[in-house]
Amino acid sequence: MATRTPTPYPRHRSRKWFLTRWPYQRFMLRELSAVFVAAYMVVLLVLVTQVHNGQHSVRSFENTLKSPGLLIFTSVALIFALLHTITWFQAVPKALPLRRGENKVPPGLLIGAHYVAMLALSAIILIIVLV
């Protein structure tokens, strides 16, 4: 067998790395969720400008929101917003670990506190809107 100069075999970068395993695909979905959250923010900003333009503009925009395309977009955005929320809250105990002396505060407690805070804030906003 022919001999060659011994050289370490280099490892190559791959643009498709995220397709190789489910944890990487899950990460990409988490990152993609930010795009949908941002896109829905644009819809909300447009709604605000329509409110500024008056009741007629709001009615017209409400009809636009009921179009099949925007309904599908809103549904997909909702799913991604939920994914975004869940994955962010899951990250909290890693980024902000709390200790009581030698012991860590259980991660479930930290995550649960964030859900409680989110529900409380949502309830306050709902009350402001409805009242």
Binding site: A2, R4, P6, Y9, R11, K94, A95, P97
Partner: protein, 263 residues
């Protein structure tokens, strides 16, 4: 019964009857091969064998040219890391029985150049390891007659988790950021920096953070989280990096508000 379940049942029966399981081992002999290739071997199946036992069997009984690193066989030395079915693991802590029906595909740790067969080139990791000064730095040493530096259990708990790293480099093999950006200091080095930064006896934060707080330090990390998922010692490098990001942000605000003060 599904087709997969039947296949698995058949393979388990085969393993039980024949007592063998197939390993597909990546081979690369640098003076002969242009690129790695897979070689299949049937090895005896034992319920209590780990992948390293099977590799040792191959080396001793079948093919003495096979090269791989190993030492302690008990998850302490960090030498025997390899990709098993695309996941970085310690081969001494990975049972054959968990991969039935097989075959089991064994490759060198991803993201590192291959020296030979399952042996990787460690140079990049070893160079990075010392850059963040993973040792206790004191501005002034306390005189010996004052005794040792005491620490409360709570102070120890601040960094103990990060001190469990065995430098096995599984986290680097799992990290797509390191794969695509070699300058990234990487999970283990950053976790180790955090280990010393959080040690109450240490005074070297500023020296370390000159590197840790850079783009190629913690800010390259996109928090994929697989470094922590594959860590055999529960070090949680992903957590260490996110905590360092927070400290880096607070440090930036501090330097902004008090430009002549210490970070």
């Amino acid at each position: 019964m599904t087709a997969t379940a039947i296949t698995k049942a058949a393979a388990i029966t085969r393993a039980a009857l024949l007592g063998t399981i197939t390993l597909e081992v990546a081979r690369y002999l640098p003076d002969e091969d242009e690129r790695p290739y897979f070689q299949s071997y049937d090895v005896p199946f034992h319920d209590d064998w780990v992948v390293l036992d099977a590799l040792n069997y191959l080396k001793d009984e079948v093919d003495s040219t096979l090269s791989y690193r190993w030492s302690c066989r008990m998850g302490v030395c960090g030498s025997c890391g390899a990709m098993v079915n695309d996941v970085p693991v310690l081969t001494c802590a990975t049972f054959l029985r968990d991969y039935l029906p097989g075959p089991i595909r064994i490759e060198p740790l991803a993201n590192f150049p291959v020296e030979r067969d399952l042996v990787i080139v460690l140079d990049d990791f070893m160079e990075k390891l010392t850059t963040t000064k993973p040792w206790i730095i004191r501005e002034t040493e306390q005189p010996l007659d004052q005794g040792e530096y005491l620490q409360t259990p709570a102070q120890l708990a601040e960094f103990k988790q990060f001190s469990m790293c065995i430098n096995c480099m599984l986290c680097y093999a799992a990290c797509p950021v390191y794969q695509n950006h070699e300058e990234f200091l990487g999970p283990a080095v950053l976790a180790l920096a955090q280990r010393y930064n959080h040690d109450s006896r240490d005074e070297g934060n500023a020296e370390r953070n000159d590197l840790v707080w850079l783009d190629d330090g913690v800010w390259d990390c996109t928090f994929v989280g697989e470094c922590s998922a594959v860590c055999p010692k529960g070090v949680d490098p992903a957590g260490a990096i996110q905590q360092a990001k927070l400290e880096s942000t607070l440090g930036w605000y501090r330097s902004f508000l008090t430009p002549f003060g210490r970070r």
